[in-house]
């Protein structure tokens, strides 16, 4: 649930949303000039683990080696960590390693 809050109108105060389950994120590949060249889904399997099978081999290797470093728990998360792995990928997304909700 998203709510809009205008800083000039405190009456429209922010509300806490329920926890939304994250089941898919998209890994965006880019070329040397920074243009987007492809989009690959990382989904949650029924057993709760993240499925990297659609990713190019080098990206899959990197994610399986490094995992994704979670700043909040101060540990590397791997596909077995499921939803938190997807959240961490989103949180670590930057201009050069793009991960989004949408393809």
């Amino acid at each position: 649930m998203k709510t809009e809050g205008n800083p000039l109108r405190p009456a429209n105060d922010n509300r806490i949303a329920e926890k939304e389950r994250l089941t898919v994120v998209y890994w965006i590949t880019i070329d040397d000039a920074g243009n987007e060249t492809g989009s690959y889904a990382i989904t949650l399997r029924p057993d709760g683990q993240a499925d990297l099978s659609q990713l190019p081999a080098d990206i899959k290797d990197t994610l399986e080696t490094f995992g994704s470093y979670d700043k909040l728990s101060n540990r590397r998360l791997f596909p077995k960590d499921g939803e938190f792995f997807l959240k961490t990928l989103l949180a670590n997304s930057n201009a050069y390693q793009r991960v989004r909700h949408q393809p």
Binding site: E4, N6, T65, R100
Partner: protein
């Protein structure tokens, strides 16, 4: 008709009433303060860049800095999810045009511990282009008692942090010799690091870029701070209007070549060490990470460009955190240093910083030392003339004017101003500046970062926590 309370009248029409009895809603005042702070900071950064150009002359740096600071935008593309990672890719007019990634301050997530629901709430903000309002969304990030080990760890960490915040602030204040109220650290909305305050990561991006240029390391993409107004484009006429009220602090970082460090490159650099073609820039990042206490240098924040064989360091927002009182007069570990380059270079004992970078660091160090010694000498002379001890506070200005006439210590003074802008408090900046110089000296002694690892297990896949050096 019953009189409408004043506060409600202002909520409906905040600008409707003028005069001394005007009472403004707290949210309005907070927003006003935020806008003023954004304008002030961007202005200060622009002034600092003028000074940088005078002290560290480099025509190419100055040209690119000017474009990043005030260049006209000719193209814009969205890169990340709105509200999650609101980065845009821009092209600025210039010869040749400059491509940069722009990150707004509002895109930075904050985290709050909610005791009632035993949850960690993620707070995100971004501008809504349709309604021209700041949108805040709060979502439960992790909930206690779920049984998920990652979730439990996150909730536990934030619960402890929230409960012990007063003690933590007291320890920080003790280290800097201040009262807890003087420490700028948000006690309800946290960043992922103890010593980095919410809303301060962009300044750190800027500082990291300037530190990189001061020492001619060339591993951090050039970054500027800008106050950017939202531009509204009329869908029918295409006419553009600048919305002055919707002002945002943004960091504008020049696009760097390369992609995030992948597993294959990591294995190569780990095995080859100083023989790797990119070893020079990798060691430079390790040294910079040590100097600026990097707290977040994981593989996604390191770029490698095989064409130029250069590594670059991006996302420097979580660095240069505050310290707390340690043993004796030494800084205590508040956040452990976390850097893949630091951990990798420590595995190769013969890996040193290149002579060019060493010379640059040494030049800065020697000039700083000469300035401090000259200051000391002038202080002694003045006290001798007066025939009695005089406090530095009393005659400091006189001494500084004298040194300024001699054009000494400009580099060190620039550094202290940079730290003052970042930390927002004179005493904190002074102490951090001193600690920075101590780290610089340690680096110069061996030509590589000192072995500060603790509990470091060789062969473990990184990132490995590299901790604060022992008191020495």
């Amino acid at each position: 008709m019953a009189a409408v309370p004043l506060i409600e009248r202002f909520q409906k029409n905040p600008r409707g009433k003028k005069g001394p009895d005007r009472i403004l809603p707290p949210d309005y005042l907070r927003e006003k303060k935020r806008r003023e702070a954004v304008r002030r900071l961007a202005l200060e950064a622009a002034k600092m860049d003028d000074e940088f150009g005078r002290i560290f002359p480099n025509p190419e740096n100055s040209r690119r800095m000017e474009i990043l600071n005030s260049g006209r935008e000719i193209d814009r593309q969205t890169v990340g999810d709105a509200g999650v990672n609101a980065i845009t890719r821009r092209t600025y007019e210039g010869t040749p045009p400059l491509t940069a990634y722009v990150k707004p301050q509002s895109g930075e997530s904050g985290f709050r511990y909610d005791a009632a629901s035993d949850s960690v709430i993620q707070i995100k903000r971004h501008w809504n282009k349709k309604t021209h309002r700041l949108i805040t969304t709060e979502q439960t990030y992790a909930k206690g008692g779920s049984g998920d080990p990652v979730e439990e760890q996150i909730v536990n960490a934030f619960r402890v942090r929230s409960q012990n915040f007063a003690t933590l602030k007291q320890n920080i204040a003790d280290y800097y010799g201040l009262a807890p109220d003087e420490i700028e650290l948000n006690g309800t909305e946290f960043t992922p690091r103890y010593g980095v305050d919410r809303g301060k990561t962009l300044i750190r991006e800027y500082t990291a870029s300037r530190l990189d240029r001061i020492f001619n390391l060339g591993v951090v993409p050039l970054t500027a701070l800008r106050a950017e107004n939202e531009v509204h484009t009329d869908p029918k006429t295409g006419e553009q209007t600048t919305i002055l009220e919707n002002i945002e602090l943004v960091s504008v970082q020049e696009a760097a070549p390369g992609k995030a460090l992948d597993a294959a490159t990591y294995r190569e650099i780990l095995a080859q060490g100083p023989k790797h073609p990119g070893a020079k820039s990798f060691m430079r990042i390790a040294c910079l990470d040590y100097l600026m206490k990097s707290l977040d240098r994981h593989n996604e924040n390191i770029l490698y460009d095989p064409a130029t064989q250069q590594f670059s360091a991006i996302d420097n927002g979580l660095s240069m955190g505050l310290s707390q009182k340690g043993v004796g007069n030494q800084p205590g570990e508040l956040d452990p240093l976390r850097s893949i380059p630091l951990s990798v270079v420590l595995k190769h004992a013969n890996w040193k910083l290149d002579p060019e970078a060493m010379a640059s660091l040494k030049q800065f160090h020697d000039k700083t030392l000469a300035y401090l010694q000259r200051r000391e000498e002038l202080l002694r002379n003045t006290q001798k003339r007066a025939g009695k001890p005089l406090s530095v506070e009393l005659i400091g200005q006189e001494i500084d004017e004298e040194i300024e006439r001699e054009q000494g210590g400009q580099e060190f003074k620039y550094l202290t101003k940079l730290f003052r802008m970042q930390y927002g408090h004179e005493k904190v900046a002074q102490r951090e500046c001193l600690e920075f110089i101590i780290r610089l000296r340690k680096l110069l002694q061996t030509g590589r970062p000192p072995d500060i690892s603790e509990g470091w297990q060789g062969g473990e896949i990184l990132p490995v926590g590299v901790y604060w050096p022992d008191a020495a």
